[in-house]
Symmetry: D2
Subunit: 357 residues, 4 copies
């Protein structure tokens, strides 16, 4: 996997596409045969990610309509690869002309040029967050397999700037989708929305966090050494644009704790009284809810002037243009969920080869 | 890589071994030929990880002497796989007899049994932290390749319980190795050591954090989509026993920041004024120091009695026995460094195939 | 790579698509950046494979026009994945209605049903040879990289039925393309063409062989154990539809030879007097021409009535319909070459990480 | 898998070791848990491969005793990696002193030097056939899993020089092991043995072929595109030292056949009247016996003087020394079987993830 465009071991997604070509797309290989897919649900997840969906996200307009080219017959999976494309619509390449020579601060422009010795300046190439639409397609399919096993997700915004959700818990989709921020607590969501609007008025951006809980994951998924379940979920999260950190269960707070407080004592049925482990012990799911939290930095594109350099090292002034998000976490919710779903399904399939019987 | 005992893409480590068999070991494949390896340096790193090295770590005695079986000729790498074994010495299997039926809280005993349908109760099987000795061997070799390129590591303890190191920076090995805790600030290290001794007297354990800085990494390493450089480092860290979280550069603090504060502005030479990006932008190294921080939970084995269950769900009392660490971070330092070195070298080799010239 | 739709290690092709969906296509990952691709040459290779190209191949009409969606900018590779699609045009699905219930002898219908528990009866699903068009796209790109290094291919038909080409050698493309059979000897080609026409008149089919020589491959490509250069080429060839055997250098004839006759003695410059090794010794190229030969069985679809069974085991008569090839080898030539080119380029890139310097 | 020391996708063998280090060995990952392994059977297979076993093979003496280091507990697999070593005993490195500067004709010496820029001249490094002992260990384990499913192997010599076995069929192990050549027909075996003895008296070597039949393989194993079952078996065979060709079912003879003769017509139960397909259709097993044949060149080391070159291109005379096989096929039988068993088990495990139920 030397070039890094493939994710997964058995259920595998390979993607292609830049934000400013004619289309992006992907191939999902290793999809088990004979399972009925609801394509509307796939589009529903894409709509949760797409630009222009609400007043607090970027106003770029793209319908993000996925077209499936193979792997489905009479509404069911055939076991062969699912190929799909999502045409690019609202490219506005001229929006990027002012970037032809400039490296945008805290974007991938400079590092990308160092890597490839060349760069398509229109929109960040493969570093564009547009690529995550393909992940949402594959994740929405993975989620349907998992739902048929009773596995359910609750993924939501739990922090925007300094505003944090108190008492995280398993919230239903209706609560999460009841507001533009995708924070399931109404008052907190309102405060977050105000903050995002204020920040945008300033031409600035702000960071945030997304939390994910997954219930009914069977015990036994994950491997004990390198491919620990949370190691793969962690990689999945850190591979999403703008993510700076990830923590499981007690997370960074565990560094301050004593073992006698941190240990999750057992009930007779194998469940535990507490869940500091975040549903994973020794890299293997234990049947308790899987819980993790993901930190996103503020979007790098701001509408304030910044001094930067061009490709020959000259100082230039950069005035942010284009239509960007003031805060990325509301649109990141379906991406976090998609990546988590792919990992869980992959390990579920891997587990089928573990015990001889 | 369905069974998860292999790490890396080009420079690849595959490991085997339980803490209570006759030996653990591994195979490193993809080692470039014609490079002189200093085997004493490899043993030095193993000694930094080994039990019994100081008064504040577990008093189990194992010399952890690595034996190389292949891949080296006249002191140089041949380009063929390096096979190695580390014999197990101080097994004390009877220490574990009381565990035959009990699931230890917050260990992998229960989840392991759910996965494999069977379990070697002596010491945790593959979930034992002993397995990390193999990672240290491979990492110590990777580090020598990197050092020949001028790449240097500074890895140290920056938190034990509530005690945190102020002003993290690039510290030299001498400062880090000057005390038992491996915290480069003398006064902070003393306070940490006291805390660890106190906690141990209580029969309890405590968590902590390790910080790693890597300088002189060339710009251009990492891939822009799934295999982002920090995504692979993150997976590497989360695959280490007891790790609950990882963050890069500004990390979780970035969630509270504005873009105008967070963006790393460029100097004329492509370096940046600040390093909130932690040396990685869009998944690709930018030439600035790579910086990350790893959270470890308190060790699950405590010497206080705990109620738990056995494999048929009956309540049993567990009295911790054996010789365990009260705090794992001093011994985790070389493991964190080893895993980071393997990732950096792997991406360095991957990069050799990226540009056609 | 559990589901088998990906080929290669660094230069990697992943494909999707059935013969009767809307399109087939693929993603090529690991393409080095900054290389100028001639897209007309890619289409030229597709035209050599396409149906309807001459009087002696199937008369199905498909233009097989490839559309590139990503990975190219201003005519050069960007280092990011090349996504492409080839629309399906002449599907005639009703041609296959008579097959809905019948398993065609020596096709994949029965084994496919056993594997997936379901089957798209229209044209063989993924088992359709149409999928090889995607290989030709990727191989045509690989070949351009290799040609820039001076590596050249000579791939041609050297047997149809009992008619064999005498004196195989390195023939130029002009000689190979001078006739419909792609056999570089004019008289032999005429006899082969007559045989194919006769067989077709009978409603029957006939097998054949393709030979490939590759010159100027640098010494040192390939690995000494599992991934021997000829092992990967062999897998590549056996993965092409209808292939039943592959041999390198002296091949099956070597079983009758003595070592004193078979050994390739060295000239002073490291070249050898003979080339029984086929350019590969111990799995590693030695700088001599790589030579191998591939056997294709007769096409399974014949226009004579055959007794067969349906999916519930009842005997049914099958009357071959549709437009099929009487002999597959003329169209197989560009596929053999494409697969070989992908393997050579992949090992060329792998070799870049082998020696430390 | 860039460095090529790993074989398999789920059931995976990684090997290390040169013929003249202290040991060779390997790690088998992905072994399903809870299966009882008969270790004597593993040693039995190693004994069939070992040097010195009979009067017609090399008289080097090595006991080839395998030591298992992990992955087994109370005689059963634990699901974790099986690590093993085979100490090297009879190294006689001084036998190779005369080779320090000379490239042996048709060995890997020259190509190996070109690849790695360095070479351990003692016995061929990783190119030594000694490495295949590790394959036999893993294959013997795979075979036990398969036997528990009713799958059986019949692997034997069917050609030495110009002497061929007539009427190949499924022969029992007793018949195969009844003579030193491992050819199940007594008279043919005698003629083969005479030929091998004559060739050896001449200081020469001779080639041969091994045939393998596998019965009771369930239908449905293999993938329809790149990872066809016979493509993986073919790669496995071509990765064995000295193999120059492989053919399945009708093989190279199919090139002369008509489709109407070649097609395997169905019986009502899905079996076929003939088995030109060799048990595999469209890359997927169809439940009929899997049949293939492997060609081995004559051993390159002969005891006659040969002119060759040294590493600076000077002509030198090489007088073969050491203790080598005059014909490799009797000892190749267990290697062919081991590699085939690994492939079949790997695909059996892969198939477990194919259908959703």
């Amino acid at each position: 996997m030397a070039a890094g465009s493939t994710f997964g071991t058995i259920f595998k997604l390979t993607t292609f596409g830049e934000s400013h070509g004619s289309a992006i797309g992907g191939i999902i290989d290793g999809v088990p045969s004979n399972f009925k897919i609801d394509l509307d649900k796939v589009q529903f997840e894409l709509d949760r990610r797409k630009p222009g969906q609400s007043a607090i996200v970027t106003q770029r307009k793209e319908s993000d309509t996925v077209q499936f080219l193979s792997g489905l017959f009479n509404g069911k999976t055939t076991g062969t690869p699912i190929g799909f494309v999502i045409p690019n619509e609202d490219q506005h390449s001229s929006d990027y002309d002012h970037l032809k020579e400039a490296y945008r601060p805290s974007h991938a422009d400079y590092s990308y040029d160092q890597k490839y010795g060349t760069r398509d300046h229109r929109g960040g190439g493969r570093s564009s967050a547009r690529e995550t639409a393909c992940r949402v397609v594959a994740g929405a399919i993975a989620k349907q397999f998992l739902e048929s096993l009773g596995i359910e997700f609750s993924t939501y915004v739990d922090q925007v700037g300094h505003i944090k959700l108190q008492d995280p818990s398993f919230f239903l989709t209706d609560a999460i989708e009841s507001n533009l921020v995708r924070c399931p607590d109404e008052l907190t969501a309102e405060r977050m929305e105000h903050l995002i609007r204020d920040v945008r008025k300033d031409g600035d951006t702000v960071g945030g966090c997304v939390r994910c809980m997954i219930v009914n994951v069977p015990a036994g998924l994950g491997d004990p050494v390198f491919d620990k379940l949370h190691a793969e979920i962690g990689k999945a999260m850190l591979s999403i644009n703008a993510v700076k950190g990830v923590e499981f269960g007690s997370g960074f707070a565990s560094a301050e704790m004593r073992g006698s407080d941190h240990n999750d004592l057992f009930n007779s049925d194998g469940s535990t009284l507490t869940n500091n482990s975040g549903g994973i012990q020794g890299g293997i799911s234990n049947g308790m809810p899987i819980e993790f939290r993901v930190a996103f930095k503020p979007v790098a594109t701001i509408l304030k002037p910044q001094e930067t350099i061009n490709s020959i090292g000259e100082k230039v002034e950069l005035l942010g243009k284009g239509r960007h998000d003031a805060c990325v976490v509301p649109r990141a919710v379906p991406i976090v969920e998609a990546m988590a779903a792919m990992v869980i399904l992959d390990f579920y399939l891997r587990q089928k080869t573990t015990v001889w019987e």
